[in-house]
Symmetry: C2
């Protein structure tokens, strides 16, 4: 079947003069998750994993995917004739390198330019520079061959009332227009879905876990042209559009519109957040100013309404996690629980929370050594059974009308080693030390990262990722521009931490083949004392879930660390007990009992 | 007298068509200290402070200086007709702003272009852009009017043998040439004196506290043209020059030489370290590549010989400070001691150390509230008498054949307040925490700064400067590119901390009108464990002087802080006792006695 499909694709390629055709896994907006409509790569390769790119030549086909999927991909690609390229393994070229090595001068590379980011497209251009390669990116050559292709997701958009958004679209749009002007431009092209949702105070459900509608926005000094599938437009929204000078246009027509528009002045584009096809139209037709979307920085600073709703929903979400931990500890070893069934149990609890919309990402449930893989995904055929020993790492979150949550706890289920306790304690100490930071305004995540990492660096351990990322409000669980990390790759944004920014705080230890630990709270930056030395800042915590005392070894704690842990646990109990049953409350009381430091 | 001199200067200005003439306080290399020859500003203004710039117009004259000198300058300028401009005071324009406001279109600004840095000159150009101002910078108009002007300092250069330098000039020059090539250039213009001394393994004594010779270097693929006053050239150096392909040229002829040179390829220049006059010659005559001097980064990484000699000399220097503290504590209140006489006592002790060359900077001796001024300079007419109460801050260092030292201790002389103890303890805790850091290779000073600053930020205090600077080897006490600070001004260098870099670690508290505390050790970066997580780094300490226990309040310490202090004090005693008398040793024993944390 796959072979037939590839043959058809090659036929079409020959017809169009395309020598290599590339099928990534992406929608038109670089979303973290893609709908079935966008699974063209799966259709032509049979590989069902979430990450992978297919490259088809006239006499070869290759699939690139990452370590999570090597075993699964091998199985699924069997008999298809497609070669598996194991990403990041020694000697395995990445796609640009592969193309550079295998394409001949003057050949044509095809791909649907809407599914490739501007950055990746430009990188390909640069990589293949000397080869005089033609890029054919204006057609969805592969997708059009897909018989019985699902249609684009079409879900009606929802308008957030001001008691949920906290700020009218009018006010937001005027702030954005000021920034467009300040950047010396007249227009802004927005294809970052969460930015657009934030700006317009609307939400959609076209992308799993991200409450966004597939759409584009083009902001002029007077109008906002909003490109959306017309089936998603409700009467309410039409009315809302009139009130807010929104001109509704068909999602399909964006490229044509931008191609035909009569520009007077510069268009601000964010090269990190636009697809290659639209970038090409704009850069050919208009004078472009390159800058981050001004919406991103504004969206990151949560307003009072957003913050107070998040506070509330984080408590409910924390309570659900407490219920889950209690259930797990009580039942492990008594009934059959797997990584997946545990996650499902937790997801069910979360769904009961008032205002639940979706998960904010697929729950990570990783037992024992599986937790050492930072992006572990339990698969039905290989999910581990959870026994009364070792630890389970659960990283999860929900989308609610009150906000977006994200929390990780590593839960002790029985015997664990002294080393595991040491690592667990060091992680907790670092996490609490960062949460407790007092710092001068002007600090970025680079200044603060070491507060979380130092206890691990002290023992020669590192986690190979940042310490924290921004979190949306009823939006993506990962958002910028803020980030807590000690190193920034060239071109990476480094934003000052502003009052109202919501950030995760998630140090961890990942020991391959042995165990993985992560403890993640979500914190909010606040203004503290202002004096002659400047404006001091501090963090409030949103997450209130106990840190497993069974894995704490006070030998690795200073009195201040114990004091921080006790202070946190007292708050956990005080704030969440009202959501719990008698039984759960009794358990929580014990789990949050203050401890003394070992002398 | 001053009025007469100004009249003469104005006459010359009129003759040359100069409307405003500017006299800064600088030699031709931007050195931290200037010889009498360069005190043209003092000659024309009567103001003797170390920092100040005179601006003379046809009907005005103004002197700009900083807060340290306001009182002194007022007195010294009396009757001269020169207006005092109090730098950084509200409403006081800086010089570029003043000129912008007061110069008329088409006028001429004069200054000796050798005494103005390229950066400042270019900034002036930019600031005065719209006014069509001519810059007359090729003559020392004011200096030439100075009768009985001292001659340029002329001291013979000294060649460092390899047992002191640790690396031959040949090896260094070849490394530098590789970097010139890598930067796409053929030549390097060096006017940074310490870089040139380092490269050539020579030292001079033309600048107070900096063992450097006034000179320039121009490196071609084959030669090093070395511009120096011929009186400084010894027979030994002539021989050394022949062996090392150094072409000796007269210091005075550098501009002429560069103007007449036949360039084949680019000249690397460091705009941060070249004077405006030479910059103009080069930028007009040659194709310039702008980059930091490659010598700076190479010089910052001390070789094994340098490090082992520094270790030794830091012990002797530490012992001298211990002797001083012992003497001060014993005699305070019994004999008359002033800030200046205390400094002189310490300086005398230092001079006795084998290989002593000079102080590395004028000793700062600041009593009580004077210590709150970070750059306090005790002046003979106002020096404070030291009594058996409060604290004395002493920041000092020496130049020895074994290296350059820098150390600060704040010494308790009697009753101090609980607040002073709190601040003192927090400073010590931060200093020791930074010294004890373990961190991954790749960190810069920005990642680490918070380790020293956090204890102060925790109580809403900040010191408005960096935490640490690089330190030379028998060279300048301040050198780059490394630096420990939480913020970098735009354009400021941010260097990864490399093995072998020597850095100061000097947090402090400065409470205006009350007290000032600084505790400064010098530390060396080292490679530690290398594992799958990367290359870990740590610091060794060079400075071994007790931290005054009379100002330590263990209520502000965690057990780890006490442990660090005790560990440090044990080393102080172990390493320095052999340099001390019986009496001093007995005192040191007590001063470094381990303490217990208060429960």
């Amino acid at each position: 079947m796959i072979r037939d499909r590839l043959t058809k694709l090659r036929g079409k390629m020959a017809e169009k003069g395309i020598d290599f055709y590339m099928v990534p896994t992406s929608d038109f907006h670089g979303s973290e998750y893609v709908d079935d409509f966008f699974k063209v790569r799966e259709y032509f390769s049979g590989f069902t994993g979430s990450n992978g790119t297919l490259v088809v030549g006239c006499d070869m086909a290759g699939l690139w995917t990452d370590g999570r999927y090597f075993i699964q991909a091998e199985k699924e690609l069997e008999g298809t004739g497609i070669t598996l390229f194991r990403m990041l393994e020694e000697g395995v070229p990445d796609i640009p390198d592969f193309l550079k090595q295998n394409m001949k001068k003057g050949q044509t590379l095809g791909f649907d330019g809407r599914t490739v980011s501007c950055r990746d497209g430009k990188y390909l251009e640069k990589k293949l520079e000397g080869l005089d390669i033609r890029f054919s990116y204006e057609e969805d050559v592969a997708g059009e061959l897909w018989q019985e292709r699902p249609s684009l997701p079409k879900h009606e958009v929802m308008i957030l009332p001001e008691e949920i958004s906290g700020q009218s679209m009018e006010v937001k749009l005027s702030a954005v227009r000021n920034r467009i002007k300040a950047a010396g431009a007249n227009y802004l092209m927005l294809s970052k879905l969460d930015d657009l949702m934030w700006l317009m105070n609307i939400r959609g459900s076209d992308v799993a876990c991200n409450p966004v509608a597939l759409s584009y926005g083009f902001i002029t000094p007077e109008e906002l042209y909003f490109f959306i599938q017309l089936e998603e437009v409700t009467d309410d929204f039409r009315e809302y559009a009139v009130r807010n000078h929104i001109v509704i246009k068909d999602y399909k027509e964006v490229a044509e519109f931008l191609d035909g528009y009569d520009y007077e002045g510069k268009v601000l584009i964010d090269e990190g957040n636009i697809n290659y096809a639209l970038y090409k139209v704009l850069s050919e037709r208009a004078d472009c100013a390159r800058a981050s979307n001004p919406t991103e920085a504004l969206k990151a600073i949560k307003n009072k309404t957003e913050l107070s709703r998040m506070e509330e929903v984080y408590l409910e979400d924390s309570a659900v996690l407490i219920k889950f931990i209690y259930w797990l500890k009580k039942n492990v070893g008594k009934e059959k629980i797997t990584e997946i069934s545990a996650a499902e149990y937790l997801d069910r609890l979360r769904r009961k929370i008032d205002g639940f919309i979706d998960l904010s990402f697929p729950t990570i449930s990783a037992y024992k050594e599986n937790a050492a893989m930072m992006h572990y995904e339990a698969l039905p055929e290989s999910t581990k059974e959870i026994k009364a020993e070792g630890m389970l790492l659960v990283d999860s979150g929900g989308q609610y009308l009150g906000g977006t949550t994200d929390v990780t706890r590593t839960i002790v289920l029985g015997e664990i080693s002294p080393e595991e306790k040491k690592h667990f304690t060091k992680v907790a100490v670092g996490m609490l030390q960062l949460s407790d930071a007092r710092f001068l305004y002007g600090c970025t995540g680079r200044n603060l990262d070491i507060l979380a990492r130092q206890p691990l660096w002290d023992i020669g351990i590192d986690y190979k990722c940042g310490t924290g990322h921004g979190i949306g409000y009823i939006l993506n669980v990962h958002e910028g521009p803020q980030s807590i990390r000690w190193r920034f790759a060239p071109g990476m944004k480094e934003a000052v931490i502003e009052e109202g920014m919501v950030i995760s705080n998630e140090p961890g230890v990942y020991i391959e083949g042995s165990h993985g630990i992560r403890t993640e709270n979500v914190i909010v930056a606040n203004k503290g004392e202002k004096n002659a030395n400047g404006q001091f800042m501090y963090f409030d915590t949103l997450t209130f879930v106990p840190i497993d005392m069974e894995a704490i070894d006070t030998a690795y704690m200073q009195p201040i660390d114990v004091e921080r842990l006790n202070r946190y646990h007292a708050e956990v109990y005080r704030r969440t007990e009202k959501y719990l049953t008698e039984e759960e409350r009794a358990w929580l009381k014990e789990a949050t009992e203050p401890i003394e430091i070992q002398r």
